[in-house]
Symmetry: C2
Subunit: 320 residues, 2 copies
């Protein structure tokens, strides 16, 4: 790309209208300068999305812009952090103005929703890759970690799981597409980060994680870090009608890209979760229990038990 | 890559021994948790380096690991910020353990030097790309910006400039390689971020920038942001014997990758800069003056004047 093309990109990146008071200096210097209020901890997470691996190369740029930010915000949600700032490293094969404008529309719509300001970035020429770092704020000591689950805690999950995995299976031709594909596809391409839930859970959850690799794998991370295991009741898993009809709970726990929250609570706090579900108008389902013994067992209502369900590897066929 | 290969990568990333007290939570959760002390501002910068564009694909992994961090730390240096934490997005074509161990050796040697802790990251499969975000701390209001230069200010540059550009020209066959190539190559592949200088300049400089795209281009950014121009005396430019003999000042001001600091001071502070040069054992050369009139003029001792010298575009032949 020529330097004028980079100027074009810079001007599009700068086009966002959001201005936060705690940004002392935004895009345009060697660094951005940010003001972290006293008593708050800074929560940061960096994710890279690669074309063909995390999104289809021909996906609408609006959806890519949305998803890149959504999956990063989802990491903040899992810690109970409030989103504040974001920086972006954008590697583009060419300076396609239309693509870039679409990408920024998707990105900006979501960033405005959560009051997140783009404060810096870097544009380079190369294979389409987006690296994003989100910065959130959480009262010191109040972040929800993966390591706090204790035997006897109840395991919850938000909304439904498996829809994104089913959409992907249809798009990849592993399951025959049906009329539901359009709705399911939204769940894959336009995930909603559960920011409000994460913030509300600061005072309730003992541990939390966002579901990016699938429940089996991600709950596994909580168990590993908390040195415990879990028993999941498969008939309690919140599945959409489409997942229930066209597939089953195995897909729902092994497919990724849900970006729902999985969290654990002390069993005495169950009523507060019921209340939260009403306040946020968001389905929160108790799906099982934490136990001392390592590993995760999936129990059916008939009494059969399955273990060792691996997390789903996105687009495995494109792997080297 | 398989999940066990990702585990390998994670374990190598975690292998660093540095532990900072202000890292509440490091690698291994949805976010890292960081403690910004009261009275300090957070300075952040994200840079992406792409194989074939910012480094040769067959470069030694130690050198890539060093350079990726060095160019990021250089942005902190230009603001006068003290390095604290770093996050890394690593996209790799395959899980080459030997390459990765070398990369981490180069990275860790430099991060240990400056007490910078790797607190988070993301590894993905794809074309070799490294995105790094550095986080530095600077007393509130004390960061050096690009926008503070005033007519009459003196323009300084650290060490020598053009050596990296000459090395690149030799490696690309644009200039016939000589015995000096090995020494020059170090300047290209193993730049030293001027952190101590940047911190010392907080109380001295009116503006600063690090030289990544070449003096003409980077000083141009200071002028643009400060709404002024500059006159540079070409015979004052600090050139190594190699650059002086094998090329000339035009290469030195248009080639990039120096990662030296260019800064401006009020003319009354010149003695302090002389003192700093001794304290840091680092050459600091006055090369010209800021003026009101926009644009940069390069004046020779013979009285001739050249303008509009563009910054150098790295590896332009590999561009699309």
């Amino acid at each position: 790309m020529s330097s004028s093309e980079f100027d074009l990109i810079e001007s599009i990146l700068r086009s966002q209208s959001l201005r936060r008071d705690d940004v002392t200096l935004g895009i345009g210097d060697d660094c951005a300068l940010l003001d972290v209020p006293q008593g708050m901890e800074l929560a940061v997470s960096l994710d890279t999305l690669v074309s063909g691996r995390h999104f289809f190369p021909d996906a609408a740029p609006e959806l890519i812009g949305h998803k890149v930010l959504a999956v990063n915000l989802s990491d903040l949600a899992a810690m109970g952090a409030e989103p504040a700032w974001v920086t972006m490293g954008l590697t583009l094969p060419d300076a396609d103005e239309e693509w870039l404008a679409g990408f920024m529309r998707g990105f900006s719509a979501l960033s405005s929703n959560y009051g997140v300001q783009l404060v810096g970035g870097d544009t380079t020429s190369g294979p389409l890759t987006v690296s994003l770092q989100v910065h959130g704020l959480v009262p010191a000591g109040k972040a929800i970690r993966r390591s706090g689950a204790r035997p006897g805690d109840l395991v919850f999950v938000s909304h439904t799981i498996g829809d994104a995995g089913l959409a992907l299976a249809m798009l990849q031709g592993r399951i025959t597409p049906t009329d539901e594909l359009q709705t399911l596809r939204q769940r894959l391409e336009s995930p909603q980060p559960r920011i409000e839930l994460g913030i509300a859970l600061r005072e309730v959850a003992t541990a939390a994680i966002d579901l990016s690799d699938g429940l089996a794998s991600d709950l596994g991370h909580i168990c590993e870090r908390s040195q415990c295991g879990a028993v999941i009741e498969t008939h309690e898993l919140p599945l959409s009608d489409a997942v229930r009809t066209l597939s089953d709970w195995r897909l729902a726990v092994s497919a990724g890209d849900d970006y729902e929250l999985c969290f654990t609570i002390d069993s005495s706090r169950q009523e507060r979760v019921t209340q939260l579900s009403k306040e946020l108008d968001l389905r929160l389902t108790c799906i099982g229990k934490i136990r001392q013994q390592p590993g995760i067992d999936f129990l059916s209502s008939g009494g059969s038990c399955e273990s060792n369900l691996q997390g789903y590897d996105h687009f495995p066929e494109s792997d080297s």
